[in-house]
């Protein structure tokens, strides 16, 4: 029995050593960590320019990007910056009346054609060319009372636009006809709550294409700029040496800084999130390509999931930056290498733009999982196991990275910069 239990004990001791970096927070020497956190946070707020740089600029960048992106996508897929009109051929009077009375007429602009006009247009080949370039063409075919929608099947945006035109205009129109009640709009079917939820379903789905990846990209960017100030330039300035000379353990100094970075970046990201929603609710021109369309709304549970994922992701990003900063000597190389993950995140952003729902395993990929989760939240497919997966995929690697940095730089967290 004895050898077995000693084996267990040895294993336990090993596990404890590994865990010690995680459990350092609960160490009774938290004093140093707290002092560092207080210092770093008050440093940001002691100066309004710094505070603005941390809290307003990320939100502003996000807003600008989200307002420019739709035009970019539109341009990439259709070759024109502005939105194209919907071509409607052979429309019956009932449809024209319907448009007059409903919101469909305010979202879209139309070009109307008679049957003959459309046939010439089609034969000339312009119609096909137009569709390839993103035109949406709607043909009312009287013979079998069918409505055909033409769009470019290779362009996600074109499909998306056709789809939303169908659900916003055509389906309600057909329902209306089927009702056959004589009047086009029934006043008592209008229910404000269903209306808002309708908008929400649509808006959240649109938002899920870009916002999750943008948000995580922003988190990394903020962490990167803050960490390079907190460590790299401080190390360069020699101030870091002064911290190392205090009786606070280097581990605690590093942890204190990482935690303050996480707190500040999470704060900035929550702020951005808030801006996002405000911007959405102020966005009344509800264009179908808008990435922050009118009516963005999350339920409390969904909001909570996002609120948890943000700091966890920020912490992971901070440990990644830490590892880069302490494994490279020269300041110039440090900055270069810190920017590498931005490229990965950019690639992910483009991937997300055109990909559908995320698979189970995607939630287990660090950082990518966080994007997948926020995306799932916006698409209303969020389930709690996804959060568990993302937590595992974020916390485990950050602990390993922290441990690795601690072990590698056990003596001090410093490789002295090379002097000429």
């Amino acid at each position: 029995m004895a050898p077995r239990s000693s084996f267990v004990l040895a294993y336990y001791a090993k596990a404890r050593v590994l865990l010690s970096s995680a459990l350092i927070i609960y160490n009774n020497k938290m004093h140093g960590i707290r002092t560092i956190i207080k210092w770093e946070i008050s440093r940001v707020f002691s100066n309004w320019q710094r505070a603005a740089a941390v809290f307003i600029i990320p939100a502003a960048v996000m807003m600008a990007a989200l307002n420019i992106f739709p035009y970019l996508i539109n341009y990439m897929s259709t070759g024109s910056v502005t939105q194209k009109p919907i071509i409607v051929a052979n429309a019956p009077d009932s449809f024209l009346d319907y448009l007059d009375e409903t919101k469909g007429s305010t979202i879209y602009t139309y070009v109307f054609m008679s049957e003959d006009e459309f046939i010439t247009y089609w034969k000339s080949g312009d119609a096909v060319k137009g569709i390839e370039n993103g035109d949406i063409t709607v043909l009312f075919y009287k013979d079998d009372s069918t409505i055909y929608i033409g769009c470019n099947g290779n362009s996600a945006l074109s499909m998306e636009r056709a789809d939303s035109f169908r659900s916003v205009v055509l389906d309600p129109y057909c329902d209306d006809l089927a009702d056959d009640s004589g009047s086009m709009l029934e006043i008592n079917t209008f229910n404000p709550i269903t209306k808002i939820l309708d908008y929400r379903t649509d808006a959240n789905y649109q938002a899920s294409r870009v916002i999750p990846a943008m948000l995580v990209l922003l988190i990394y960017y903020c962490v990167y700029s803050m960490m390079s100030d907190m460590f790299a330039s401080e190390r360069d300035r020699g101030f870091y040496d002064k911290l190392l000379m205090t009786p606070v353990s280097p581990k605690h100094i590093v942890l204190g800084k990482i935690i303050s970075c996480t707190i500040l970046v999470s704060g900035a990201t929550y702020m951005t999130f808030l801006f996002l929603f405000i911007s959405s609710w102020l966005n009344r021109s509800n264009s179908s390509t808008s990435l922050i369309p009118f009516g963005l709304m999350l339920l409390p549970g969904q909001l909570l999931a996002v609120a948890i994922v943000i700091p966890v992701t920020a912490f992971l990003c901070a440990t990644i930056c830490l590892n880069i900063i302490f494994s490279i000597r020269r300041m110039k190389d440090v900055i270069m290498n810190l920017q590498m993950p931005l490229i990965y995140l950019m690639a992910d952003l483009f991937f997300q733009m055109f990909s559908g729902d995320s698979g189970i395993l995607e939630f287990l990929i660090p950082i990518h999982g966080s994007i997948a989760l926020i995306k799932a939240v916006f698409r209303s497919n969020f389930v709690s196991w996804q959060l568990v997966f993302v937590l595992i995929a974020s916390i485990l690697p950050s602990m390993l990275l922290l441990h690795r940095t601690y072990v590698k730089e056990g003596y001090i967290f410093d490789k002295r910069k090379k002097r000429s």
């Binding site: 710094r50 020699g238 101030f239 002064k242 000379m245 205090t246 002295r416």
Partner: protein, 244 residues
């Protein structure tokens, strides 16, 4: 009390920056490391203050090995780096409070020490100004004050009067003498022999990572057979420096 025994340091595999240095500094003594730029003064001082690990050799502070008792040693040494650049947006006052908290100094004690040191070094007039608005001398004084925050028995100052005018220099050296009389052991590095001559009880001349002569200024002049310490320094330097 500091003792340095046969310390070597190589930054790269085939060059040795410190080539076997040994000395001892008892309490109540100012020990000067005098040497030209690149002699290895900063390297040596960083090793004494635990920021760098020697390639070989032993450094003890009050009998504690600098390798193993990091945090305890940090309580005992005050270290001033050559080019300190404090957080530009902060003020001397705020920096003091921050470091006092890191050193876990009781608030009352911290405040009375702050008043005393700020007054002595003449920091009081600009204590609430941003670091970015201070002159080199003011910044240096603030750094000195902060490195002495915990009243350390051992003081390691790397070129403390570098770039200071004569008046500020004198303020600093007077304060160092005062600290010496209180029984602190002080090691300072300098490339200015007049500072070494007037201030240090014991001077070690460092050339190319080796101590080539050691003693009081007078003893060194005698040893070299020159009238002044200045001549002695040049003579000793020329005799020992090897062009590569």
């Amino acid at each position: 009390m500091i003792s340095v025994k046969n310390v070597h340091k190589s930054y790269t595999r085939n060059t040795e920056t410190i080539k076997g240095v040994s000395f001892e500094v008892p309490d109540g003594v100012i020990f000067g490391l005098l040497g030209p730029n690149g002699a290895g003064k900063t390297t040596l001082m960083q090793m004494m203050s635990t920021l760098l690990r020697p390639t070989s050799g032993v450094i003890t502070i009050d009998g504690l090995n600098a390798r193993d008792n990091l945090l305890e040693i940090h309580r005992r040494i005050g270290y001033l780096t050559t080019e300190v650049r404090l957080d530009p947006m902060s003020t001397p006052d705020k920096l003091w409070d921050f470091f006092a908290e890191l050193y876990d100094i009781p608030l009352k004690e911290s405040i009375s020490r702050k008043e005393a040191i700020f007054y002595k070094l003449g920091i009081t007039p600009f204590r609430n100004k941003k670091i970015i608005e201070l002159s080199t001398g003011m910044k240096q004084k603030a750094s000195i004050a902060i490195s002495l925050i915990h009243n350390p028995p051992v003081i390691i100052f790397d070129e403390p009067t570098n770039g200071l005018d004569i008046l500020t220099s004198k303020q600093v050296t007077d304060y160092l003498l005062e600290l010496k009389n209180e029984g602190h052991s002080i090691i300072l590095s300098t490339h200015i022999f007049s500072v070494a001559e007037s201030l240090c009880d014991e001077i070690a001349i460092l050339v190319d990572g080796r101590i080539v002569a050691q003693g009081s200024a007078e003893a060194l002049s005698q040893q070299a057979g020159t009238d002044t310490f200045e001549e002695a320094f040049f003579k000793i330097y020329v005799e020992n420096h090897v062009e590569e």
